[in-house]
Symmetry: C2
Subunit: 274 residues, 2 copies
């Protein structure tokens, strides 16, 4: 998928919402456990209920790997379901991979070619040759961790290298990599003012933003500093949407929570258009 196709979808749906499909069998409605593939069944119903409100879905691979081969099958079925029924939707394998060159190439093959995800998240610690193998795939996007939304982000990411925080160094350095036009970045919503600085370094890149709650906490703040002419933001919500109810109404309640965020996004997009 091209970036332009993603932007077109955002305007059409008036949404830049990404829904995280982090399926934990201890948290989904108990009656689904009787299904042959509860994880896929859960995802399918969430997707059916929210596909008009979201422009992207992001399964985190950890939740699938935790169930071994069964989980891996559920992941494959989920991405196939999305690609077959909603090919316009942007898909993200939240895998946070990164290894030496030939090994990263194997990961890229797994997520881009075999499973046909539109994008994959990667970790920057091993540098250029661990990320570039992902960037060579045309029409695919590599979403690199820059500033994450967890407490541990302050352990290394915000430390200063020669007067510049590690995450800024990561952003700047990556711009010189081959096919860096295929890069997007993970930037947590923890502190909205960070976005002003980040936009000075990557003025046009798409940013995947975790850490915005179902209640839309600092959505306005993040948009104030992070929005670009081509939108440039994908706001992710996982647990706040998919676990809003664990009754038989879980999908409609999820849709309600997604709609709350989508409506706020529509207001922001409408204001931008004027």
């Amino acid at each position: 998928m091209t970036t332009q196709q993603l932007v077109d979808q955002i305007w059409k749906k008036k949404s830049f919402l990404c829904i995280g499909l982090d399926v934990d069998l201890t948290k989904i409605p108990a009656y689904l456990l009787e299904e042959e593939d509860p994880i896929f069944e859960f995802n399918k119903r969430i997707i059916e209920a929210t596909q008009h409100l979201a422009v992207a879905y992001k399964p985190n691979t950890a939740f699938y790997e935790a169930y071994g081969i069964k989980g891996w099958k559920s992941l494959e079925k989920t991405i196939q379901y999305l690609n077959t029924n909603y090919p316009e939707i942007f898909t993200i394998a939240d895998a946070k991979r990164g290894d030496i060159g030939n090994t990263s190439a194997m990961y890229a093959k797994a997520f881009f070619e075999d499973m046909e995800f539109d994008s994959v998240t990667v970790a920057p610690y091993m540098g250029k040759d661990s990320v570039e193998p992902f960037l060579t795939f045309e029409g695919k996007h590599t979403i690199m961790l820059a500033l994450t939304s967890n407490q541990g982000a302050f352990d290394f990411q915000t430390k200063s290298i020669e007067g510049k925080e590690v995450y800024k160094h990561v952003l700047e350095t990556s711009k010189s990599w081959k096919h860096s036009e295929n890069l997007m970045y993970v930037v947590g919503a923890t502190k909205a003012e960070y976005f002003a600085d980040i936009r000075k370094i990557v003025p046009n890149s798409f940013l995947l933003v975790p850490g915005v709650g179902a209640q839309g906490g600092n959505l306005q703040e993040v948009c104030k500093f992070g929005l670009t002419d081509q939108i440039g933001l994908l706001i992710n919500s996982s647990r706040g949407i998919i676990y809003a109810s664990n009754g038989t109404d879980f999908d409609t309640v999820a849709a309600k929570k997604a709609a709350e965020l989508q409506r706020q996004m529509a207001v922001i997009l409408d204001a931008k258009k004027v």
Copy 2:
């Protein structure tokens, strides 16, 4: 497995060799492709031929994921084979994972509980709460990237935070984490003199060392600076051993290459004992 059990095995086998099981179907002997599970068949024969020479095996998960569910099955069969037949051998899931707390916990469950690996490699970029969930498992080891052996290591890892390189900062910070006694570190063999500095920070921790060729290039140098009273080193070789031949003799040639390294290690260990 406890660290002491690993050390005992090292003295018994006079080896601190780890063999990387990075199985690429385009590189293994063509006749194996006729087997029902060529990856597992390859691993089994490599293990059978080298298990008396190596104290650890390290499948890199990328190579298995690249083959989807079939690959995942081959990985499960490989670890089961090792745990059943050679429970004294230390097993490493080279996965380089790392995510926010609850997600890292899912990865830890997958590798430690479901597949019963003794250890897993993790990336440090997301900090404390992305690694600590791995450290809570008793008798399991978490091998964190510190200084990797690829060119990209110089992009961020060797940059200086307040006069101290990022990788040293990573080593030092991690020592304060809960259950840090379960940490080991990845340190590439690219520059042996780094080991002297690293030993000042983590004098006793086990280091997993990639980047030593089948010819044993700088093994002596690495040991000179990196060896501890409890050995503290696992030297990894992957391609130099497992792809030394792609004929029907691949396993015996792999054993020959492994034995070359093991003999050098025996000399080093014998010298230490005296």
